[in-house]
Amino acid sequence: MHKDLDKKKCMDMFRQLYLTRRYSETVVELGDKGFIRGPLHPGIGMEAVCVGVLNATNDDDYIGVSHRGQAASVVRNSDIGLLFAEQFGKKQGCNHGKGGTMHFNLFNEKRFFELDSEVAGKVPIFTGVALGCKIKGLKQISVVFYGDGAMSEGWVHESMNLAKTLELPIIFVVENNQYAVTTKVEYSCSAKHLSDRAKAYGFEGIEVDGMDVEKIYEAAKDSVLKVRSGSGPINIVANSYRFCGHFTAERILNLKYRSNEEIEEWQKRDPVSTWPDRLVREKICTSQEIEAIKAAAEQELVLAVEFAKAGDLPEPQDGLKDMYATEYAGIPRKGWF
């Protein structure tokens, strides 16, 4: 076990993995019941990547999370009730019902936000955050997560080039879940190893088993240390898998792009079960302690959902608020008389 991973940290990482998984499953259930509108994009199976990387950062480092990065809220200890409330479209939601699913913005409070945009859109934003850290001489670094699909977007390449050109303190984390919607990564990426992309831009790219939270933590810990010391950007490619569909609507679309055997193979390495198994096997904690963490997480989920259900709906006219920070009479205009 990595020297920094003591019992408390190991157990905390399990809590984060488990709570993230159950949060995602609960969101899907609530979507099916009609409490949450719109398609949902859970990251079931990919939790170890975000948990491993974020545990290696400081709480004041800046994190750009992908649309499957539900773990960030859990690791940064934000109240998941705020997330449910946001997805319910309630006033009490973290963005007062304006952002919704895939766009949780807790940047002021917890230094992270989630942005779907054109999937890679957050990559240049967090490259800018890293530039700001450098200009201001801050000790913080920027970490940005995106998927194998997003890797094909131009501004990922531009950001990598810019980050190296200006030697910015940023870690590019690819959550490679093998499929961009239904397209296999081998089809969409010309490089044999995804980390070769970083080498092409003149910086280090490392590949890591994205199902093993310890290995991810280790890779991230080393990278954070180097990047914080001012040695420029690093790219971590975490090879992972989503057990669920691209989005919840996939269940009715009956898409055939991977076999059940393939899914089952990956599920054998599910971090939410292999990590606690290992902790018990290596006698880092007992199975009773694991069960206690699960029970506490379930209780937290129940309370969070109750909070969201009890929340208030926004006033319809709030739809015209929050557009501008410096306000002027007459804007934003209504679209009618």
């Binding site: 952002g99 945009s117 859109g121 240049p124 490259t127 800018g128 929050d322 920070a325």
Partner: protein, 321 residues
Amino acid sequence: MKELSLVQAAREGLNEELKIDTNTCFLKIENDLNKKENRAAGNSDPDGQRIVNMPKSQATIISSATGLALIGMRPIIELSNTEDIYLSFSALLDQAAKLRYMSGGKLQFPITYLIIEDDERCDFNVLHSDSPYSFLLHGGMKVVIPSCAYDAKGLLVSAVRDNDPVAVFLPTRALGEVGEVPEEQYTIPLGKADIKRHGTDVTVVATGHLVAAALSAAEKLEKEGVSVEVFDVRSLLPLDREALEKSIAKTGRMVIIDDSPITCGFGSFVASTVAEEFFAHLRAPVKIVARADVPVPFNRLLEEYVIPSEEKLILAIKKII
């Protein structure tokens, strides 16, 4: 007072803000310092860190400014071709213009996009001649266009100090126009139009370099007994509807001259606003002089035919007088 060209005045405003506010920074694309006298780029880097020369990755640079704003900076980005915004729609309209709203009003993005051509020469041909500000207005972004040196400096300073993204378009055809600029600091608030010439028969609503065309037309028409009021919009969003109503209430007639295309362009937007809200003041139909819905062709004769001009403006005024 001193004499400065429009682009020099903008540069002076920019340099002053860079000196005053250490949270500002200036991102330039492929632009070495002091390369050309007329650049809007700053010529001094106050502390050696905040003026950054960037590789030509327009969308990423515009998006990175959003990141700079996230951690409390006040970035100013110079784009030397108006078409750079086409590469950057997502960064401008899906990110900078939306993120505050999406955050539930928790964040702010005080970003200034200084959009210019870096040369006074025109004849820029098909791909370097657009006036694409209507696209930004469509996304709810604040947009200003100065027509003279005094306004360029005052509006630029206000744009930098505004807590939202603001696009400042410096009109290529007016970059070299010289005017008087005060030595001391001053601002021109967003949302305030300026009557550049008072008149009683018709209001000409003009933007950017076309304000000069409107003033020249007004001069000529005065000799024919027509009194033209020249209404310099200056701030397209927020639009000074109060001043617009006041002017139209006085003259009862309006012609708009603007360099964006006629279809869904700024001119059409002003016309629809006036038709819907100020119809009672009108004594004649509204006329628009805008670009034709085609690209700007290379040949000078073809170009002059498809873009708005003083001659077309005079014809339009005569149709409703």
